[in-house]
Every structure is written in structure tokens, then in C-alpha cells.
Amino acid sequence: MWRYLLPLAGLAILVVFFFFGLQREPGTIPSPLIGKPAPSFSLPSVDNPAQSVSNADYRGRMYVLNVWGTWCIGCREEHAALLAIAHTSAVPFVGLNWKDERPLAIQWLKELGNPYTACAFDADGRVGIDWGVYGAPETFLVDANGVVIHKHIAPLTEEIWQRDFLPRIRAASKAAP
């Protein structure tokens, strides 16, 4: 009798396997950077090559690093939300314009609005590689000790900001006032 149940048991195992397997998002690769010091960078600013943008400027402060490019559709998608969030957020938004062309980036910020307190220009993508960036838009949250505490891959929305970022910001500011 039990041998007739074997195929059924096999099916049950497959169902469990696929139930969990198909819910995973293979596009989202966990970052090994979480809990580690943020890679330091110093790059020219997008709008002024003579000016430099460095995350050392934010030592002792929490900040958000948003990786974007004008070639990136998801970045255009998230831009309105980014503007709204950055407008109300106490945490400064640092931009990392990744593998882009300067005139296009400047035009983008002029046309769509600028959510960034400063935006670095990473033309050859090396800083992006240091941060383990593989597909814009990506958004990192760095605490006051310079440690990466969260990474979001895919366009940012108000909902995701409130769900994933705000609680971490509150917890981190409580831990290190």
C-alpha cells in the first residue's frame, strides 16, 4: 500500500521545494557589505568636476547612497518617490551617478529635480564595483559609524522606505544619538 503513496510523497516534496523556491527573487543578490564599513570614495561632483564628493564628508552622520544612471529605467521610475522622500528625510541623500555621461546626468537632474545633497560622478564604475553594485537603482543606508546597515535593490518607493529604511534609521539613531 505505502508504495502507492511514494509518488504522492515525491509530489509533496516538489510542492514544498517550489513553494519556497519560486518565492525567491534570483535577481536580488544579498550584499556581503551589510554590517561592514562602507567603502570609501572620493569622486568629482556631477555638476561641477572641480568639486569632490566623498563619503568622508558624512563622517559621524547617517546617510543614504543612491546609485543611478540616466540609462536606467528603474531610476526614472523611482525618481518622484526619491524626491518626495529626500525632501522630508532628515538623512541626507548622496547620489552615485554610475557609468553615465555627465551632460545627460546634469540634464536629468535639471529636468526631473535633484533629490541629492551631493552627487558623485562614477564614470568608469569603479566605486560602483567597490560597493558591489550590479544593477541600478540600488540604495544603501549607512549609519553614523560608517557601517552599511541596509541595501535595497530595485526602485525605491515610499512604502519600501517606510517599511525597510525608517525603522532602521530610528533604531540606529537611538543606538548612537
Partner: protein, 145 residues
């Protein structure tokens, strides 16, 4: 036959022209061999089932550049792979390390093979048993006839 062979050899040479990697080759063949091996062992994170050697994504080209520069700078294979995993995690390796999280991945082929063999042996034994009883039956039949 000779002509066919010549044609096939030529096709082999042409394959390089279709390659994605347009970077210059290393003058040192040993370095070039290491470069080829490393870039084939590193996953392109944009198009996840391709190696960075085979992918024409922008990021893959950048990662090839990093590998090339690190090799020229005299870095070891371990150092280069560590550079990649520090940034992108074990996922970037097509051959992830054997750790607690990956033992099932590594052992699954052997386990499945063993399970398959066990089932096969059982079925074969059963069939053999059946065949024997069949002939016994026919013996009985012929005996009774």
C-alpha cells in the same frame, strides 16, 4: 574529408572573432591562461547564467578590466577571487565554497545518483524475482497439462 577538416579548423579560429571580450591578450601566455580561467569562473551579475568572459553587459566588461589590471599588478588568483567575493558575495563564483549553506548544492548530484541507483537495483531485483516465478508457473502449467 581533408577539406572538411580544414574548414572545421578554420571555424575554430573564427570563434575568437565572435568573442565578447575585445580586450588585448596578455603577452605572457601563462597570464592569459589565468585570465581566461578566472573570467570563466566569475558570474556576470546582470545576466546571471553567463560568466563575465561570455557576457557583453557593461558590468562584465568592467569586471574583466578589474581582473586584467589585478593580474598585471601581480595579484594571485585567490586575491582576485577574494576581491570579487568581498564585493558581490559567493554568488559571483560559479564554484561556490563548500560550507554549511552549500553542502546540499554540492552533494545533491551524488545523493540523487545514489537514490536513483537504489531504486534501479530494487526494480531490477523485483523484475528478476517476477521472471523466476513466471517460469515456475509455466513449469507448473506444463506439469499439470
Amino acid at each position: 574529408m581533408k577539406r572538411l577538416l580544414a574548414l572545421l579548423t578554420l571555424l575554430l579560429l573564427v570563434a575568437r572573432a565572435f568573442g565578447v571580450d575585445t580586450g588585448e591578450e596578455f603577452a605572457d601566455p601563462a597570464l592569459q591562461a589565468r585570465y581566461e580561467r578566472l573570467t570563466h569562473d566569475l558570474r556576470c551579475l546582470v545576466c546571471q547564467n553567463e560568466s563575465i568572459a561570455d557576457s557583453n553587459a557593461g558590468l562584465a566588461a568592467d569586471l574583466r578590466r578589474e581582473v586584467r589590471e589585478m593580474l598585471s599588478a601581480g595579484k594571485s588568483d585567490q586575491e582576485i577571487l577574494a576581491f570579487m567575493t568581498d564585493r558581490y558575495g559567493d554568488f559571483v563564483l560559479f564554484r561556490p565554497p563548500f560550507v554549511a549553506r552549500t553542502w546540499l548544492l554540492w552533494l545533491a548530484p551524488a545523493l540523487l545518483l545514489a537514490a536513483g541507483a537504489w531504486i534501479a537495483v530494487r526494480i531490477i531485483r523485483q523484475k528478476a524475482q517476477l521472471a523466476r516465478t513466471d517460469t515456475d508457473d509455466s513449469d507448473l502449467d506444463s506439469g499439470s497439462a
